[in-house]
């Protein structure tokens, strides 16, 4: 067993007085894809957002417990949030490209982190990221067009390209395919396969088949609790908890 990339220990998250996540412990290794499943409102997004401290932007949110990235406590005062988010990238449920050119969308991250020193280098990063996101062939002739002029699926792949342009160590995806048609979904799943190994990936999804297809391990959340966490094949064929079974057979959710 390799050392985990991310370790969460006894994490609870509160919005004001309400507890959205209750005592969750999980770890994610460098070379795997972990899927979070569970009924709507069970806290998947909330938990995902604690992993790169995006919850800091919600004034009422409070996090208890510990989360380590490579053994480093990310909620420690010495942790630099900006650097953390560069190392733990995020793709959101709704595609949210900047209202700037496609090129600028991808180049923004490397530029603010000073990852390049020459214009050519930046061009290479942009092209490489768009290629890995499977978008290059569709946009290579119109890099100066607005990112918001793309289709929904293209926008989502642009957001993925933007996330990987910073060369993060972990990518968090919150229902990246919920607004996409089956073809765009298939492209993104392919992309996840390709990115696997290079980045640790955590993906939230409502699509059981998708979880089964892309992940090695699956975590089932219910009402803020982590009900079951194990190999994806086990969860889908032989769930230990009754609630997990009910959920994946579609009895509720």
């Amino acid at each position: 067993m390799t050392t985990p990339k991310i370790t969460a220990r006894n994490v609870s998250v509160y919005y004001g007085a309400t507890r959205a996540i209750d005592d969750v412990s999980i770890d994610v290794t460098q070379d795997e894809v972990v899927a979070f499943i569970g009924p709507s409102g069970c806290g998947k997004s909330t938990f995902l957002r604690t992993l790169n401290r995006m919850n800091d932007t919600v004034p009422s949110a409070r996090v208890e417990g510990e989360i380590y990235l490579d053994g480093e406590d990310i909620y420690a005062p010495s942790m630099d949030v900006v650097q953390l988010r560069a190392r733990v990238g995020m793709v959101f449920q709704k595609p949210n490209p900047f209202p700037k050119s496609i090129y600028e969308n991808v180049a923004y991250g490397p530029r603010i982190h000073g990852l390049t020193h020459a214009k050519g280098e930046l061009d290479d990063i942009v092209e490489g990221s768009l290629r890995r996101a499977g978008l290059w062939d569709e946009v290579k002739d119109r890099l100066t067009d607005s990112g918001t002029a793309l289709s929904g699926g293209q926008q989502q792949r642009l957001c993925i390209a933007r996330a990987i342009a910073v060369d993060p160590e972990v990518i968090l995806m919150d229902e990246p395919c919920s607004a996409l048609d089956p073809i765009a979904t298939a492209k993104i799943e392919e992309l996840i396969h390709e990115l696997k190994g290079r980045y640790a990936i955590v993906i939230v999804t409502h699509n059981m088949q998708q979880a089964a297809r892309v992940s090695q391990r699956t975590a089932f959340f219910h009402l803020g609790h982590l009900v079951e966490f194990g190999a994806t094949s086990d969860i889908f064929t032989n769930p230990r908890a009754e609630r997990t079974k009910d959920y994946i057979t579609g009895r509720y959710g």
Binding site: N52, M54, T57, P59, V82, Q83, L84, R85, A86, G89, M90, F92, K94, N96, P97, F98, P99, Y108, G109, I112, H113, S146, T148, A149, C159, R162, A163, A165, V166, Q209, A212, S233, F236, T237, K245, I248, T249, G250
Partner: protein, 429 residues
Amino acid sequence: MNSALVPEAPTGNSEPDQRRPTDWTTGASRRRTRRRYAAERRFRLMGLAAVWLSVGFLAFLLMSMLWQGASGFVETRITLPIALQLDITPDRVVVRGADLALAGAGIEGAVDAAATAAYGAGGAELLSDGAWLHVRDAVEADPTLLNRRAMIDVSAAADIDVAAKGEGTPAAEAQVAKLAAAGALSRGFNLKFLTDADSTDSTRVGIWGAFKGSLMTMIVTLALAFPVGVFAALYLEEYAPKNRWTDLIEVSINNLAAVPSIIFGLLGLAVFLGTFHLPRSAPLVGGLTLALMTMPVIVIAGRNAIKGVPPSIRDAALAVGASPVQVVFHHVLPLALPGILTGTIIGMARALGETAPLLMIGMRAFIAAPPDRITDPATVLPVQIFLWSDEVNRGFVEKTSAAIIVLLLFLLAMNGFAIYLRNRFETRW
């Protein structure tokens, strides 16, 4: 995966719907449709009527101003036969300081004498107080005039000017008729109106002094209110914790925007003149006072514009590791800028038209020279309009309208600039 666990289609175990399918062809249904169409039409008509009403008012205002004010840009001139006999050599006239040399040589008296010679005992009264300036300019342009007899067009006195434009007293009308019969009357563009400042003689007044005063005041206002307003809005929206204090600040700012402007004038009087002893009547003080008034408008408009930036953009930027300051300056501010600019222009337009607070800080003084620095005494366009509209002399009526035209053009230019800026910075989504 395990096919036994694939969800099955939901079975119809809910109550069957008891209602019959809706019939859309009944009379009641048709009437509803007709009423809906009628309502749509009424609404469109009302909207159109409202638009036309406001366009009509605007057109009426502009037309009546143009109608009354256009003649303010035109002056009546009288042809004056003159043979100057001044104690001055022509070469003195072409060097710098010729104005003073000519004035010292008694050109003013010579012009009066020529008028008396040409038009009888009351001849000098026919001419404007500034008539000799025309002669002086003519001499400067052509120094040979000093040695010969010439005909020079000079501005007519105020009552002659008014009578020539058809609204004078019977006595003045008679004189105008006489002059016209002699072929001595002409009209010309009143360039001095655009280059001079206030005067007691309506034929000598100019708008430039007030225009420059307004311009300087607006620059001071903008330089202060815009950055302070934008930073306050950014801080309140992006950084300030949401608590009782920020609520209190928000309420105060909203109230500040609604405070009658004259109160700001009193505040300016007490603080800038009373405490800081800044010069009275200066664009600096006027600008500071108006900035106090404009800032809350910019803060409110700015906060709304910043609120309008989708949170998903902030999330996107934060998630690639942008710092809060980078999020604000790379994403939020550019996207909010069109809205901020619109609010700024509304505030500035209000400030430009403001009279009351400026009266309080002494900008109503009679100031006959355009300001050179923001600490010089000055007046502004609306105050100038107010002062002229108060004059008894009929010659000031058209000057007032002409000044209003200049003010409206200033406003138009400002709004045009705002629209240009907004279109430049507008982002297509």
